[in-house]
């Protein structure tokens, strides 16, 4: 198996056979661990088969690290058990909440970045890393709402989490683009200011204009090819920070594996430019 990960792809059941058969230098695959929290069966068997050939990343969506409570103990145990079984190359989660008082809301929900939230989230990341016995990467979320009450800007908040917990970061460039568009800040400035040394992984994905509000509100739908503006931000980032494992993230409106693979080749070209390698 390749040890240096370059560009990877979201793994969906439709892609199992193609993924298991695919041979490409640096190729890796990412799944949502929640879809593999089962006692047995073909899903786990496929994941293990693909793991024999490729690096695998477990990208969680449900630890609810920003909820004002500790991570659910049984959920964390299931995650640890899956990690034990799959031996993932990377593990990540979001700066967001989703489970609250026993109900699971399948989304990545926002919160005011206060001092109290920082304490809680740092504690939750540490608990998670202790349970998993490894460093995880925390992803910047997509924003839709203008919210008051932040004590911290997002980059400082993430940097402080890194300092306090030793976690890494996952920079989702599409999320930056979507959030900058929706809230009115400079995506390039954000990408330029992101702490390079903490970045363990990069996400690229497609977005869609809101059906009612149009381009004033972009929605992080993961159902379309990566937009040209996002590619441009990505190239800008890679020139500055160098090569990082980069995911073409696709969760809906799934194309043929070969189509997704051409997007991967785009990322590969960026990652393998001399400037990227020298950075």
């Amino acid at each position: 198996m390749t040890t240096v990960l370059t560009a990877g792809l979201s793994l969906k059941p439709q892609y199992y056979e193609a993924a298991a058969a695919c041979r490409a230098d640096g190729l890796w695959f990412e799944v949502h661990p929640e879809n593999y929290m089962v006692a047995g069966g073909p899903r786990l068997a496929w994941l293990e088969k693909i793991r024999e050939q490729h690096g695998v990343s477990l990208h969680g969506v449900a630890l609810s690290l920003a909820a004002d409570t500790e991570p659910d103990v049984s959920h964390l145990a299931r995650l640890a058990s899956l990690a034990q079984r799959v031996q993932p190359t990377l593990m990540s989660e979001h700066l967001a909440w989703s489970t609250w008082r026993g109900a699971y809301h399948p989304d990545l929900l926002p919160f005011p970045r206060t001092d109290a939230a920082l304490l809680r989230i740092a504690d939750n990341i540490s608990r998670t890393q202790d349970a998993l016995q490894r460093r995880i990467a925390i992803e910047n979320p997509s924003h839709y709402l203008r919210m008051d009450g932040h004590d911290w800007n997002e980059i400082d908040f993430l940097t402080e989490l890194v300092r306090r917990t030793g976690c890494g970061l996952l920079l989702d460039v599409n999320n930056v683009y979507v959030s900058a568009n929706n809230l009115g800040f400079s995506a390039a400035d954000y990408v330029d200011a992101f702490p390079a040394e903490a970045v363990m992984e990069i996400h690229l994905a497609g977005h869609t204009p809101d059906p009612k509000l149009g381009a004033t509100l972009l929605v992080d739908t993961h159902d379309a090819p990566v937009a040209p503006e996002v590619w441009a931000l990505y190239e800008r980032l890679i020139r500055r920070i160098g090569t990082r494992p980069t995911l073409i993230e696709r969760d809906d409106n799934l194309p043929e594996f070969a189509t997704l693979f051409t997007e991967r080749l785009h990322a590969e070209r960026v990652l393998r430019t001399p400037l990227a390698c020298a950075a």
């Binding site: 073909p42 004002d68 959920h75 399948p106 929900l109 709402l145």
Partner: protein, 265 residues
Amino acid sequence: MSATTPVVAVNSDLARFQDAFARTLLDSSAPPDAHIANLVSQPAFAVYRNTVMKGCIDAVQANFPAVTRLVGEEWMRAAAADYVRTAPPTDPALLHYGASFADFLAHFEPAAEFPYLPGVARLDRCWIEAHTATDENAIDPAVLAALAPERLANAILRPHAAARWAWFPGAPIYNIWSGNRGDAAFDSQPVWKADGVLITRPRNVVTWIELDAAGYAFMDACAAGLTVADAADAALATHGEVDFARMMSALMTAGAFGAIRHTAA
């Protein structure tokens, strides 16, 4: 999901924010709490509402494909939306969502004209349970074939970890269900009689066979820990006439059992 109830700092600002936000996500009719009113009033708040609702409805639709095929996507998604409001997911592993969907349909007034739907939903659910059950090799039929009759009679057969079985005395639920899984061409006029099914996963693929009342009673008896002889008596009691050799052969070929234990008796 969790057996543990997390301790929440109920009086914190963040907890109050999350209480208010979560309440407003699924119930758009309730007036939002004052301190998040400036969020809920933004058109973008709908993105969260829509994403959460879509995620839940997608899961119900994905987990109940035969029900969806029977009622059509539009009806199904409307029913799922009602279900989500009464029983939002508690487990982030959404493959397990919908444990109470069959019961919901049984009391869902618009479903009254489809009395077979709750049973079909039960079987969709059984399929998921079989699909995700612990891996286990089914007993090789040759092992049983090699046993002396009295040794078999005193043995206890444990149903396979993936095995689920059901009996429907009032309607051909199994035939309706199996005709609406995958690409099967459904016979819209099934013979209206009782039927039953054994769904299991002897290896990597979920499979099923039709079960009669005797087969159903036999599986129940085995699951209760009865010996093969006692389970056969239980099957006879429901049916009167049982071709025991044929029933055993069908169950063994289907991979219905995961282990055999011999008793001294």
